[in-house]
């Protein structure tokens, strides 16, 4: 992500240094323009490449470039990949892995975070460090696969869900623990006095307050898992097809060989659920959800 320096507001500038401030004003006006153009180029060019190629005929798309398609045939291409590319089956394969993984990682992660955030002491700090060490430590793919084989979970959705849950738990704990520390203690105390046990306190008071941070985590984790080829290839390898694995399989099997228009159409269709997730989840990322709780 690029961060453009905001221009200094006029009233904050020293009034005595006219020439310098005029120079700065010139630069200040230029900065946003440059930033916008750079962003457009960075995001726009690949996007255009994907959309235009996905809309071309096979002959036009043989050698992908930035030229516009002679005739737009995006829908035809999409129809072809969905039916011939076995996308529906692969879609359900992906959902079968992604949905339980995200659900488990969010629920288990926030439960663990609640305890980690609320209990003090050195022991808890060590546990917390262990929990979030997963963010920096590289996952050992070979051992994971061997372990899953021994457990008889290799090639099963359960094994895959376990791997994803374990991998992203650290991320969720890291995000959510920090957030829970900002939730006032009194809210939990009020709930306890109102007659709630720990489980009730968590599900009726803490969890609803975590909506913004859990939405952010959902977007990130769905993005990672939905697009994941690497771990899926090792763990599921041929037993169950997710969308990216399916693309890899059908593309290398010859159907899409040199068929860039179909590959890009596949990519577009595959991205739609992500887009939907983003649209729904980002609405929940509203700051100040605890507003009005205290004071």
């Amino acid at each position: 992500m690029t961060i453009a320096a905001a221009p200094v507001p006029a009233d904050l500038r020293a009034p005595t240094r006219q020439p310098a401030s005029r120079r700065r004003r010139g630069r200040g006006a230029l900065q946003p323009v440059v930033a916008v153009l750079a962003t457009l180029a960075l995001l726009g060019v690949p996007f255009w490449l994907v959309v235009s190629t996905a809309s071309k005929s096979q002959a036009e798309a043989f050698d992908p470039d930035l030229s516009p398609p002679g005739s737009w045939q995006l829908l035809t291409n999409v129809r072809e990949v969905v039916t011939d590319g076995d996308m529906v089956r692969a879609f359900f394969g992906s959902v079968l892995v992604v949905a339980p993984s995200v659900f488990l990682v969010l629920v288990l992660g926030s439960m663990a975070s609640w305890v980690l955030a609320r209990r003090g002491g050195r022991g808890m700090a060590v546990v917390y460090a262990l929990m979030i060490s997963g963010i920096v430590l590289p996952p050992a793919v070979v051992t994971i696969v061997l372990l899953l084989r021994q457990l008889g979970l290799a090639g099963t959705p359960t094994g895959m869900v376990g791997v994803y849950t374990g991998m992203y738990l650290s991320t969720v704990v890291f995000f959510v623990t920090g957030f829970i520390r900002t939730v006032p203690h009194e809210l939990e105390e009020a709930a306890r006095v109102d007659g709630a046990g720990p489980v009730r306190v968590f599900f009726t008071v803490i969890l609803p307050l975590l909506t913004p941070v859990l939405s952010t985590a959902t977007i990130l984790i769905v993005l990672y898992i939905w697009n994941d080829v690497f771990y899926a290839l090792f763990v599921l390898g041929g037993q169950l097809d997710t969308l990216p694995l399916n693309l890899f399989r059908v593309a290398s099997a010859g159907l899409y060989l040199q068929n860039w228009h179909l590959i890009f159409a596949y990519v577009i269709v595959m991205s739609l659920p992500l887009l939907l997730t983003f649209v729904i989840a980002q609405r929940k990322i509203i700051s100040g959800i605890t507003g009005g709780a205290v004071k």
Binding site: P184, E186, L187, E189, A190, A191, R192, V193, D194, G195, A196, G197, R200, T204, V205, P208, L209, T211, G288, I289, T290, G291, G292, A293, V294, K295
Partner: protein
């Protein structure tokens, strides 16, 4: 309808040898409004939280209706608490906030709605039931917090400085509202505040705490008229009581040129008279106008309309002592002038040296 008893209840925090609440013994009658008052760190909030079940009782007992609840969890105590910060659930509407405890208790939806509506009507919140706390003003949030407690009809109300986040005017108004609401409902209430005015105006009885130790528990009138020690004397009343060092002589205790006679029992209680102090409230002092009495150099005149308070000093050099005198608000002396003040011997308080305990002058 319930009674509350603290029986030598203490709260000791790990790693701190001094208890936050030290062997508190207190009986609160059914329907009584008891105020716990004290400066910061006096243990008043801790004492309340012990009753709520939010703080562990290290030793001793807390009884509600004669049953020891020291080890019961908050949800099993049938108490409702109003927090200083209100602690409203931000993701629930006002109505949901108020009905939350009933919902947890498994009360039927229709019943919850009726009870919430009734409480909302009492608190003038009827039009706001569908709003989120964020959309409410400070005063309305405070009333929602009250409503959450009222709806439950609990055995005891606990209130932890519920007015401290309101502005001065609203605080005075809400003070009366809470007091009259409590009289109407007749629910036993324990109220914590650091504001002695709140304590005096609201409580049936007031318990004064200092450093975790109960100093005195009495009616507001008695606290004001017969404080048991120097601390209570200085804490209750605004402006505070003047407390001045005195010397014991053959005639009584001497303050400057004035002598206050003391009886034989008081003389015995004062012992050598070492460290003895005399307390006199600003309104028990008066201007003599004829040059007799204590000479006071007036530094500041605080005019409050009906009354004025003279802030000045007695004596000279190292022996200078601050003194506050209440005078008629229409004709106060000017700042910088010198006046003479007299006191009525029956309105002075004597405290012995050492523990600062009260000694009855006439005794």
């Amino acid at each position: 309808m319930s009674t509350v008893e603290y029986v030598k209840a203490s709260r000791l925090y790990p790693g701190n040898p001094v208890p936050a609440v030290d062997e508190l013994s207190l009986e609160i009658a059914d329907g009584e409004f008891l105020v716990l008052v004290g400066p910061s760190g006096s243990g008043k909030s801790t004492a309340l939280r012990m009753l709520a079940g939010l703080e562990e009782v290290t030793s001793g007992e807390i009884r509600i209706d004669g049953v020891d609840v020291s080890d019961a969890s908050p949800k099993d105590r049938d108490i409702a608490m109003v927090f200083q910060s209100y602690a409203l659930y931000p993701h629930m509407t006002v109505g949901e906030n108020m009905g939350f405890a009933l919902r947890l208790a498994g009360v039927g939806k229709a019943d919850i709605a009726t009870r919430v509506a009734r409480a909302a009507a009492m608190l003038d919140l009827t039009g706001h039931l569908d709003r989120k706390p964020k959309a409410l003003s400070g005063g309305q949030r405070q009333r929602v917090a009250m409503g959450r407690a009222i709806v439950r009809s609990p055995r005891v109300f606990l209130m932890d400085e519920p007015l401290s986040n309101l502005d001065a005017k609203l605080r005075v108004q809400t003070r009366t509202e809470i007091a009259s609401l409590q009289r109407e409902l007749g629910t036993t209430t324990v109220y914590v505040t650091h504001d002695q005015t709140e304590a005096m105006t609201m409580g049936d009885r007031v318990a004064v705490l200092k450093d975790g130790v109960l100093q005195q528990v009495a009616t507001p009138r008695e606290l004001y008229d017969r404080p048991v020690n120097v601390f209570v004397a200085g804490f209750i009343g605004s402006p505070a009581m003047n407390v001045l060092p005195v010397t014991l002589t053959a005639e009584g205790v001497q303050l400057g040129d004035l002598t206050v006679p003391v009886g034989p029992a008081a003389r015995g209680a004062l012992g050598s008279g070492e460290g003895a102090q005399l307390g006199v409230r600003p309104e028990a002092l008066h201007l003599t106008g004829d040059g007799t009495g204590l000479r006071l150099d007036v530094a500041v005149v605080e005019e409050l309309g009906a009354d004025a308070y003279l802030h000045g000093s007695l004596g000279a050099g190292d022996g200078r002592r601050p003194l506050v005198v209440r005078v008629d608000g229409r004709t106060p002396p000017r700042a910088g002038s010198t006046v003479h003040v007299g006191l009525r011997p029956d309105e002075v308080h004597l405290f012995r040296g050492g523990d600062g305990a009260r000694v009855d002058a006439a005794g």
